[in-house]
Subunit: 433 residues, 2 copies
């Protein structure tokens, strides 16, 4: 901390959308931030690739360093804000160097935490340097603080949410417009809601990184990225969106971490969300997190999961906590208390399932389908067949009662082998009411 | 704080539903709470009217004091938890005595804060004793921490919410069952969701107490209970609920604090909430708060606003913050920065309005109504007349474009004087999309 009690001197690494906005707000909202932080906030040093780029922040009297890691060593920097991104290289080097210099670290880097959260939390404790990471998950939604502090008296039972704005935008737009996945993805790329290479978002890895951080916070478990199962939204068709509506659901990509008596169920996948739940109505790029605690019961947070303003809001709250001396234990409990939890073996994970098959409309199809499900001991809750086609495929959709992944996988193998089934079945899990 | 670094000794005043649950959780969840708080939590002393009452907490080795205020003076009490309620007498005495003894105070007492929040915040600073009050507003929903810490980097633009579970239960049940206000209120009283004397809840004062606390936190303004305007839900009929559905709304009792260029608009009243908003789907005894910040944009929190578990969850989070040394500035900014804000004169407050009139179904009624609105310079967005009656009243409902309270009040006076208008008009403000 600064010797000058009344000033907190900030070094920012990365002056992209978020870093630029943080720097701008520290300049333009200085009186407000001084009042809320109890100290004057000043950016004293920055590291960014391009010094000449036009930025909204004036950055007067600010030192530019060539290597981000140098921010950790500067005597005029009390706290380092890491907004570089990526889980290796400059970001990791800077994070480690900062903590080892016994300086507080504020980071928005979900990949870094998902890969090295445990090690960084250990460094934070060893060097008595707090590690703040509100902006790493769900942008402006204070879910880290909520799990770490507000729900600290609870044993958490379940955490799930809409953690990826790109996927939620695509799914919402597919529903509102009736258009296909590929079509809407293309538009999202043009609008800047999806990356040129959208793989990381639409295949569920971005949501997965966030989920394993939330899971560690909720259950006092080590951050467990290798233990994650993630499916994305590529297989969702316009048909599935229509069927979901008809059946009383909305399709959302969810990250789920639920504690069961047999272990922790952790998964990213598209889910059928009941229309009477708040999450069903969270559309566009918004994010939302549902938590269930032993004392508090259900708690839902809804807000902007990305973007300059919301992410800067989270970074500023960390900086202010730091100025106020509100210590953060990076992952809610200290390393000595972090305990590996049993992961629920995937085949034991239970839910109801939505399955869509594209079939030739011939006599006997339903009988064969029913026999396969019977043999897998899966019972059907409802079944829809849409229209009749003289030639070409028709959609058959059914919803099962609760069953486990093993039984469902067995049944899917059988269904895929049916001669009348024309494409791989589409499977979507159903979120309980 | 305790000399024994590893223990936080807690005195609890009030062992009703919430106090009993806090004491029980501290006993039964001791290992979990020790881990999260970094200290062992122990209840060392309690004050409650009836010592012989059977309680879920064992309360072994706990000292019983006769007068709550004695908890403040005990050497074996590091932090006082005030769960007595009421804004005078024992609760106020205890709160003041605790802070003056330089001990942290945790309180769930919204009435105390609504009346004396400013004075208590002053004591908290003068004696360097933190004041925590998460449980005072919206039970298990961490809205205090969110406004005080998570959104500290934002200038707040608007805060509103469903802050009273009793009213929300009554309105939700009226909608689901089609029954009348009086009927549902009676049932709520039998179920324990409404008090024998329900005035405080259904006339909006409970929500008002919570709103003025949120308003102070959001805008850095003094707690201003006298400046509050509050209407309740007595005038809402089963008809209004039906019309709301038809017009695309749900009726909710909201507390609203919105900063306008002309001053702070602060009001508790029933509102027409658009069905596409998350708050429209918050039913039963659940609470919800919507916040709009300059950087974060919109943020919604939904959860249980009352009850033993959720309120105990909030109290425990305060106790854990206290154990962790996470200081709380009771009302988000220190006294020196608290600034009175201009209140928006009520007549200048603008919104669209829903108005229901019960009229004799005679020719010329609509012409007279339209003339009155024209003279008040109010333009109508839509108008519904329900059915035709041979004799007896029919409902005429209209929705205005945005207008101000003064114009609307003038028009209402005129409408109430119409010979064909049979009851006082029912007026409900419309929440913008």
């Amino acid at each position: 901390m600064s010797k000058q009690q009344e000033t907190l001197r900030i070094g920012i690494a990365g002056l992209g959308t978020v870093g630029g906005e943080v720097a701008r707000l520290i300049e333009t909202e200085d009186a407000h931030l001084h009042m809320r932080a109890g100290k004057k906030l000043v950016v004293t040093a920055v590291a960014a690739r391009d010094r000449t780029k036009k930025r909204a922040a004036a950055l007067k009297n600010v030192a530019w360093v060539d290597k981000p890691v140098d921010l950790a060593n500067r005597n005029d920097v009390d706290v380092v804000v890491e907004l570089i991104g990526g889980h290796e290289g400059a970001a990791r080097d800077l994070a480690e160097a900062t903590l080892k210099k016994r300086k507080p670290l504020v980071t928005a880097n979900k990949a870094l935490l998902a890969h090295y959260g445990q090690a960084l939390a250990g460094l934070s404790e060893a060097y008595d340097a707090p590690l703040y990471c509100e902006a790493a998950v769900a942008g402006g939604i204070p879910v880290i603080k909520t799990l770490r502090e507000a729900l600290a008296g609870n044993t958490m039972l379940e955490v799930y949410g809409i953690l990826n704005g790109t996927c939620n935008y695509i799914l919402s737009t597919m529903r509102q417009s009736g258009r296909t996945f590929a079509d809407v993805l293309g538009e999202a790329q043009k609008l800047g809601y999806a990356e040129a290479d959208p793989t990381f978002d639409i295949d569920g890895m971005d949501a997965g990184h966030k989920l394993v951080i939330l899971s560690a916070l909720a259950y006092g478990a080590p951050v467990n990225l290798p233990g994650l199962k993630a499916d994305g939204i590529r297989a969702i068709s316009a048909n599935d969106i229509l069927f979901a509506d008809e059946l009383g659901y909305r399709i959302k990509l969810l990250g789920i971490a639920r504690m069961t008596p047999q272990g922790l169920m952790q998964r990213v996948a598209p889910y059928m969300v009941p229309q009477n739940s708040a999450l069903a109505h969270v559309d566009g790029v918004m994010n939302a997190i549902y938590m269930q605690g032993s004392a508090v019961g259900p708690l839902t947070l809804i807000g902007r999961g990305a973007g300059a303003g919301p992410t800067a809001s989270a970074v500023l709250s960390d900086i202010i906590d730091c100025a106020r001396g509100r210590q953060a234990s990076a992952l809610a409990v200290s390393s000595q208390h972090v305990k590996a939890v049993n992961m629920l073996p995937d085949e034991m994970s239970e839910s109801a399932f939505y399955v869509r098959l594209m079939v030739m409309d011939k006599p006997g199809v339903l009988a064969e389908l029913a026999a396969i499900l019977r043999d897998a001991r899966i019972s059907i809750q409802s079944l829809l067949q849409k229209g009749r086609a003289e030639a070409g495929p028709v959609a058959v959709v059914f919803i099962t009662h609760d069953t486990n992944e093993k039984a469902m996988a067995d049944a899917l193998l059988g269904l895929a082998k049916m001669q009348t089934v024309l494409e791989p079945p589409c499977l979507i899990r159903i979120l309980p009411d």
